[in-house]
């Protein structure tokens, strides 16, 4: 028992054994904390497939519905005086096929690992386009956040407020991507070619958003949990936690521990007549408060 209290004191209390600076604030200990934080994230990815009797433990639950996405998209267009987009079943089919393909082949990109581009799915659905475009999103909990993310990204915004588009197709699909339960949203835009007109691929290429994330592509056991449009909130057992929630909780705990130690050290040393040459506790506290603020207000979701 005495040994344990000795270890705790050595880590958190400035005294002779730690050169009058809590061991936790020594550079070696800080690098050890760096390793722990990295290890935590690595483990989170490693055990992302864990399930309980009630379903997945880790993943992203969402309340996004196709209807909300179309309404929000048209609201953004209306603000610029653009005509609302009309829902097109062929484009919706194309969006659904693209989403299913991403789950099956486990990729997160506009272009499939085998080189198939979004236009392939549009053509397969029987939609003869003059211009076409695609926006992707994943890991968002709700529609407003997702549309706000698209609008904050110049390339995605360009698709949403493109006056050349007349129709839209939306797929909201739940499934497992790169180890996590998530909701993928595929937004396909298009304008049909006139009778006898040939599709202009160049325009389509221009409209395509090319800001896909470069995540590694995993060709493995793809599992499509839902191949139909599943409105959020109707999924029977949503994951218990999102990986982001767990990461935030762990990192905030680490920061609170370090900041508390810094405050304690400042207080103890302030009441002693000792001189030591170390970093400035107050500056460290300011930095960690800024990091804490950023972690708390960091918004999840990925657009592509």
């Amino acid at each position: 028992m005495r040994k344990l209290s000795d270890i705790v004191a050595h880590i958190f209390h400035p005294r002779r054994s730690n050169n009058h600076r809590p061991r936790l604030l020594h550079p070696e200990a800080l690098f050890f904390v760096v390793l722990i934080a990295s290890g935590f994230v690595a483990l989170l990815h490693l055990f992302s497939g864990l399930t309980s009797a009630n379903g997945s433990i880790l993943g992203y639950a969402s309340t996004i519905t196709p209807k909300q996405v179309i309404e929000a998209t048209n609201q953004e267009r209306a603000q610029l005086g653009l005509k609302p987009l009309q829902l097109n079943q062929s484009l919706t089919q194309a969006a659904l096929a693209k989403g299913q393909n991403m789950f099956t082949d486990q990729y997160w990109s506009h272009t499939a690992p085998d080189g198939v581009e979004p236009w392939y799915f549009i053509q397969q659905a029987g939609y003869q386009y003059r211009v076409a475009g695609e926006n992707l999103a994943r890991d968002f909990a709700n529609t407003p956040n997702m549309v706000a993310a698209w609008m904050a990204s110049p390339t995605h915004r360009a698709n949403i407020v493109n006056s050349k588009y007349e129709e839209i197709g939306i797929a909201v699909i739940d499934g497992s991507l790169e180890g996590y339960e998530t909701t993928l949203v595929v937004q396909m835009f298009g304008t049909q070619a006139g009778v006898g007109a040939k599709p202009v691929l160049g325009d389509a290429d221009e409209a395509k958003v090319v800001q896909a994330s470069g995540d590694a592509v995993k060709r493995s056991q793809a599992s499509i949990l839902a191949s139909l449009l599943v409105p959020g909130g109707q999924v029977e057992s949503p994951p218990l936690f999102t990986p982001l929630q767990l990461t935030k909780a762990f990192f905030l705990a680490v920061i609170i521990l370090i900041v508390s130690t810094l405050i304690y050290d400042t207080f103890i040393i302030g009441n002693r007549d000792s001189i030591r040459i170390v970093g400035k506790n107050l500056a460290h506290i300011f930095l960690f408060i800024a990091v804490m603020y950023l972690i708390i207000f960091f918004r999840g979701g990925v657009v592509g």
Partner: protein, 85 residues
């Protein structure tokens, strides 16, 4: 703490301005995670340089002090980068 703040007023003003700027840039870069990671690295580098310069000016610089700022900066930057993964 107040004594320390008053003693190095200018240094802390620069630090706070730098950190507030970092916070604005990081949150403003959303949803571009690549840019957010670059901002996180910039915050870490800024903090390391701030620490070295501040201690250099007060003639209180040692290898371990530099290492401490490097450790604190690395930890802060890494936590921000990891949260964007």
């Amino acid at each position: 703490m107040l004594k320390e703040l008053n003693k190095h007023k200018l240094a802390y003003i620069i630090l706070i301005i730098g950190l507030v700027l970092g916070v604005i840039l990081f949150l403003g870069a959303w949803p571009d995670r690549q840019t957010q990671r670059m901002v996180a690295i910039s915050i870490a580098v800024f903090y390391l340089l701030w620490g070295i310069l501040t201690h250099f000016k007060t003639n209180q610089i040692t290898g371990r002090v530099v290492l401490e700022y490097f450790g604190i900066g690395t930890l802060a930057g890494l936590l921000l980068i990891l949260v964007t993964l």
